[in-house]
């Protein structure tokens, strides 16, 4: 080991100190502090949610702290962020739980310290673990595209592939089951285990990722070339599925339905890549959460219960009996770029 120069050591020490001072300065400000913990820093859905929260906080004179897990499913990262925000003096914490059960003890600790905790986007198990939930009804989002697909098939024999998230994730299960229920598959409820893939020719995990979704779709087509309906957990997975179908020369004969309503996804509805998608509203979830946080500091009143932030079916080929809006509406109300 050669000696590292003293000046280098000093620089490193100074940098570390600067980081620590910034943290202390944050905690010392007198504005109401609201924390937002998302599943990841990088998913555009959560990036938008954070932007919405920041706008609402600035408008209401609050200070927003944000944190996230490293990856989808990283509970430990969320617990750390939660503890840090309580320590920083946050009076309200908004969280999109990565692991609906494992996060509960950490939330209970924060609430015991007088913090109001609101779940955004996905529920905790039990739902009573938080003060309130502002979220899309993911089961309903699935049902809408299921009903749409049923109508669009017009009595043709359906061969279904599902590109899911990953095993055991409640949002993934709710959308998957909602889709099958809406499609008319018998014996499906909101909590049916997805392993019981009744009426599904091929169920594969896409992790919500475009490249992995493409690989999953290619393998599903190998398994059953007659697949004519593809349900996808989100629009990146749908784009991957389309890429695989195009390579196989089948993009014209297969119906892709999805969930999210991000701007790129709605543009894909416009382009005919996705037949229909259930649009959700992350900006609304975030701004409602921040507003509730500001009110709590001002009046001491907490919010409670479940608020459905709404879901709209977006499609340019409307089906009779399934209410939907066109892609123009979708683009006016989409999130992302």
């Amino acid at each position: 080991m050669p000696q590292i120069k003293r000046s280098t050591k000093l620089t490193i020490a100074a940098l570390t100190a600067a980081v620590a001072v910034t943290g202390a300065a944050l905690a010392a400000s007198s504005q109401p502090i609201i924390g937002l913990i998302t599943k990841t820093e990088t998913n555009p859905f959560f990036v938008k949610m954070k932007e919405g929260a920041e706008k609402a906080a600035t408008a209401g004179g609050a200070k927003l702290l944000s944190g996230a897990g490293k990856t989808d499913g990283d509970n430990a990262g969320q617990v750390t962020a939660l503890e840090n925000m309580v320590a920083a003096g946050a009076k309200t914490i908004l969280i999109t739980p990565s692991d609906s059960k494992a996060i509960v003890p950490a939330i209970a600790k924060a609430r015991a310290a007088g913090v109001m905790v609101i779940a955004l986007d996905s529920p905790t198990e039990p739902a009573s673990a938080v003060d309130a939930l502002f979220a899309t009804n993911n089961y309903k989002a699935g049902q809408l595209i299921g009903q749409y697909a049923k109508k669009a098939m017009a009595g043709k024999k359906a061969v279904i592939a599902t590109l899911d998230l990953f095993p055991g994730q409640p949002v993934g299960i709710a959308r998957h089951n909602g889709f099958l229920q809406g499609f008319g598959t018998a014996g499906i409820t909101a909590t049916t285990a997805t392993q019981v893939a009744t009426g599904v020719a091929c169920a594969a995990d896409s992790f919500g990722d475009q490249a992995k979704g493409q690989t999953a779709m290619e393998n599903c087509l190998q398994k059953n070339p007659d697949i004519n309906i593809v349900y996808t957990i989100n629009e990146p997975a749908a784009a991957g599925a389309y890429q695989a179908l195009k390579a196989a020369g089948k993009e014209k004969d297969v119906l892709i339905v999805s969930v999210d309503g991000g701007c790129a996804g709605v543009r894909n509805v416009q382009a005919g890549v996705i037949a229909a998608t259930s649009q959700q509203y992350p900006l609304k979830m975030a701004s409602m959460g921040v507003q509730a946080g500001i009110n709590y500091v001002k009046s001491g009143k907490k919010v409670s219960g479940y608020t459905d932030t709404g879901v709209t079916l977006i499609s340019d080929k409307a089906q009779a009996g399934v209410p939907s809006k066109d892609s123009k509406f979708g683009l006016a109300n989409c999130w992302g770029q």
């Binding site: 594969a204 995990d205 493409q214 999953a216 393998n219 190998q222 784009a239 390579a247 790129a264 770029q337």
Partner: protein, 327 residues
């Protein structure tokens, strides 16, 4: 790190029999192919094999770079993230900045090479161990990817960027140019490692850095060269990935560091450097791809794929250890 083993071989013998560590995975692959072929009528076909090669193409190309680095007893954890950045640079310049596609691709190559070079400087000049240096790089480039792209996927790419995804036919089987490029790169890497002086130096440094230094091999310069060339290889992987998915994706490559190491280890290359070969890595990548595809075709949930891969990795290295103890 570990004590370097004293080896008498200055480099790989040209026509060695596959070692036991490669034989294990090879046998597993054969058994898997037989099982999948009997369980699914669609598995054993040219089209399906071409598909598996497409699915592994970018990870397998990354794994060439990882093999070079592991052979000199290094490791690169920033591999997939640097690839993602290369893809973003290509996609963004070609679409939003209106740069000619060829220049955009070149800029992507230069970007990934630059980060390989920076890692090597941190390793050789600041004396930071490769594991730590590239772990740091992983964090830095992850942040760069997100800020540079605004966390948005870039689509509507010009045809030049997706050309490697185009296909030609061999006897009714469509094969992508990206697959061919992957195989060609493996041949080039194999040739350089086994037939040229720098290739032999790579083995010498990995085997026994002290002995290599005393025999006059410029270790630091070789290290910088290896990481920089690996960076260029990540750029090629980026182009293959962009062509395959048709987008620049800021979240791409997140699992490719471990996926590439899996391919290297399954292929019988030692993590302590100096022993192994690049064709084994290709075999390792193929094994992973075959299991992913085959299990999907016969309808086995994806969790079992990671189980099987895990068992195979341990088995491959354990077999290698046993065979060396006997020798």
């Amino acid at each position: 790190m570990t004590q370097p083993t004293v080896s008498t071989a200055a480099g790989p013998r040209r026509f060695q029999l596959p070692s036991l560590s490669t034989l294990g995975p090879l046998i597993a692959l054969l058994i898997a192919v037989i099982i999948f072929s009997t369980q699914s009528p669609r598995f054993f076909s040219g089209t399906n094999f071409s598909l598996i090669l497409q699915q592994i193409s970018y990870t397998a190309v990354l794994a060439i770079g990882q093999t070079l680095i592991i052979l000199i007893a290094g490791i690169d954890l920033s591999i997939g993230i640097v690839m993602a950045l290369g893809g973003l640079v290509m996609a963004k310049l070609a679409t939003e900045s209106g740069v000619p596609a060829v220049l955009a691709i070149l800029a992507g190559f230069i970007t990934t090479m630059f980060f390989g070079f920076v890692s090597s400087i941190i390793i050789t000049r600041l004396r930071v161990p490769p594991f730590i240096a590239t772990l740091g790089m992983l964090g830095i480039v992850t942040a760069l990817n997100q800020t540079y792209s605004g966390s948005q996927t870039i689509s509507n790419l010009p045809p030049a960027l997706t050309a490697l995804g185009n296909t030609f036919k061999i006897g009714g089987t469509a094969i992508t140019y990206g697959t061919v490029l992957m195989l060609v790169l493996y041949l080039i890497a194999w040739f350089i490692l086994s037939e040229t002086a720098p290739g032999r130096h790579v083995y010498a440094v990995g085997n026994n850095p002290e002995a290599a230094r005393l025999s006059g091999i410029p270790i630091d310069r070789l290290t910088i060269m290896v990481y920089t060339i690996a960076g260029l290889i990540y750029g090629v992987a980026a182009l293959i990935l962009v062509a395959r998915t048709g987008v620049g994706d800021p979240n791409a490559g997140q699992t490719d560091n471990l996926d590439s190491i899996t391919a290297v280890v399954l292929g019988g290359t030692s993590l302590f450097g100096g022993r192994g070969n690049v064709l084994g890595t290709l075999l390792g990548a193929i094994i992973v791809g075959v299991f992913r595809n085959g299990l999907q075709l016969i309808g086995i949930p994806s969790v079992y794929q990671s189980l099987i891969t895990g068992i195979l990795i341990i088995a491959a290295v354990a077999l290698d250890q046993i065979s060396r103890r006997k020798a």
